[in-house]
């Protein structure tokens, strides 16, 4: 039911883990619906230098988390903000229809992490 790309990212997730001194952290989902994604970013200048994730969830949740970290590494914040859940799903050669709205939250986690970063910076300034 999953594409080969989804299975590859699920079985060999990229950038899995935490960044202890992250500049921004985004958390989306909740345990009740079976998916929680946590995304950590390290920003230098305007560029996402490092990104890591931790995810509780199904195959699609883990694969989309992994994929979004690949898509975003080295991108500027503005470029990263343009990445949508749809972009992530397409990069994985699609997701089963039922997964499109329940387990495809990785871009939301990314946007939350960027927002967190901007807030932290604003409060420092």
């Amino acid at each position: 039911m999953y594409s080969e790309k989804v299975m590859d990212h699920f079985m060999n997730p990229r950038n899995m883990g935490e960044i202890p001194d992250a500049d921004g952290v985004g958390t989306v989902g909740n345990p009740a619906c079976g998916d929680i994604m946590q995304l950590y970013i390290k920003v230098e200048g305007n560029v996402i230098k490092d990104v890591k994730f931790k995810t509780f969830g199904c195959g699609a949740a883990i694969a989309t988390s992994s994929m979004v970290t690949e898509l975003v590494k080295g991108k500027t914040l503005e470029e990263a903000e343009k990445i949508s859940n749809k972009t992530v799903a397409e990069a994985l050669d699609g997701l089963p229809p039922i997964k499109m709205h329940c387990s495809n939250l990785a871009a939301d986690a990314l946007h939350a992490a960027i927002e967190d970063y901007r807030k932290k910076r604003a409060s420092k300034a």
């Binding site: 899995m16 935490e18 619906c33 079976g34 995810t55 329940c102 387990s103």
Partner: protein, 389 residues
């Protein structure tokens, strides 16, 4: 790659003896049993003989068995058929909140048709309260439909007590025994069961055949109208090969049940003990002792069921889960929810259901591959990170 099947509550492989028994009715004895000529004679005899075998397993008369196409049809037939036949007598049906969808959704349909339905709650083990059942029966109640054993957790209901209550109160008792037939001895007369559903493919017969026991004297309206087959209770030319297969499967169940149950129970207990010893933060779902010998349902906390199943499948192990992600809906298992299991723990549930062909090597293999799978998924989980601190 190894192929280890631990999903027997979903379906079972066809028993080689069952396969052998049904082949002649797909090949040479293809006649319509309702005809009067030579082509009908052998198929007709075969159906009669199968009916006796099913009846023997349940402890009833052959003419109390109606063949159907599956367990879902049997459940629909029992509930809709009795409700229609007794519509002048009352308008109330009692069932539980943990039934199979073919009972649950039939009861919800009956509600939309104007019937009143009581869905009894269950305790954390998935058990109903018998006093609550007794108190729920009113003079409007015509039917109590409660399963023999739960398909997800294996919890076995107090069927004998339910039968006593319904008989004493004068209401009919339908029992969905799809998961229990062939695994637990069932005597419908002793248990005061009025209607009982069973399904071929949970019992090492093929898909496409089931049966409903209808106690003599119970009024029931057919679901499928048409010809006079099944003594006017279920129209449609008989699935002769399927019926023969179901008869054979029941005969084998009677012959082999004790030995198979001992074998399966030993393996299931070994799997359960092995998992509990090797993996931390595992919760048993279902009753610790009043449980089908085939079934082990456990939640691996902090991780999600589908991702466990995908990993198991990559290693050749077939199981199932009560996670929303495997149900095709957004909700986790209605059974685990009714038992009060928190959603994040329900999402992490895995059901292993064993069968006659499983071996010690199968269980050893699962116990070898499962801990690293759980550990790897936990290493990815933000929920586990919190626990580990």
């Amino acid at each position: 790659m190894k192929r280890i099947y631990l999903d027997h509550n979903a379906t079972t492989p066809v028993h080689p003896e069952v396969f052998e028994a049904m082949v002649p009715y797909l090949k040479d004895e293809w006649g319509n049993p309702s005809s009067i000529h030579w082509a009908a004679r052998e198929p007709k005899k075969a159906i009669d003989s199968a009916r006796e075998k099913v009846a023997a397993l349940l402890g009833c008369e052959a003419n109390e068995i109606v063949f159907t196409s599956c367990g879902s049809e049997s459940n629909n037939f029992a509930i809709k058929g009795v409700a229609d036949a007794l519509r002048g007598k009352g308008n109330h049906i009692i069932t539980t909140s943990v039934e199979h969808p073919s009972v649950l959704n039939t009861c919800k349909f009956m509600e939309r048709e104007g019937w009143e339905v009581t869905f009894l709650p269950v305790d954390p083990y998935g058990m109903i309260d018998l006093d609550q059942l007794r108190d729920s029966i009113t003079d409007k109640t015509i039917l109590v439909s409660i399963m023999f054993a739960n398909n997800e957790t294996g919890t076995i209901f107090p069927v004998e007590e339910i039968g006593k209550i319904t008989r004493e109160k004068g209401v009919l008792f339908h029992c969905d025994a799809v998961q229990a037939v062939g695994k637990v001895p069932i005597d419908v007369k002793r248990l005061n069961i009025d209607l009982l559903s069973l399904s071929g493919h949970k019992l090492y017969a093929p898909k496409g055949v089931g049966a409903l026991y209808v106690r003599r004297g119970v009024r029931i309206t057919p679901l499928i109208h048409g010809g006079h087959q099944e003594r006017n209770r279920r129209a449609g030319t008989e699935n002769v090969a399927g019926i023969v297969a179901l008869g054979k499967a029941c005969e084998i169940a009677m012959r082999d049940m004790d030995e198979e149950v001992a074998h399966i129970t030993r393996l299931r207990d070994k799997l359960e003990k092995g998992i509990m010893e090797r993996i931390e933060h595992v919760k048993l779902n279902g009753h610790p002792t009043k449980r089908l010998p085939t079934t082990l349902n456990v939640s691996f906390m902090y991780i999600e069921g589908e991702s466990i199943l995908l990993n198991l499948d990559m290693k050749g192990v077939a199981a199932s889960s009560g996670s929303a992600c495997t149900s095709g809906s957004l909700e986790p298992s209605h059974v685990l929810m009714a038992m009060g299991v928190p959603p994040e723990i329900a999402h992490g549930s895995v059901r292993f259901s064993l069968g006659r062909d499983n071996t010690d090597e199968d269980i050893d293999y699962v116990l070898e591959i499962l801990p690293p799978i759980v550990e790897r998924l936990r290493s990815m989980s933000p929920l586990y990170a919190k626990v580990k601190g």
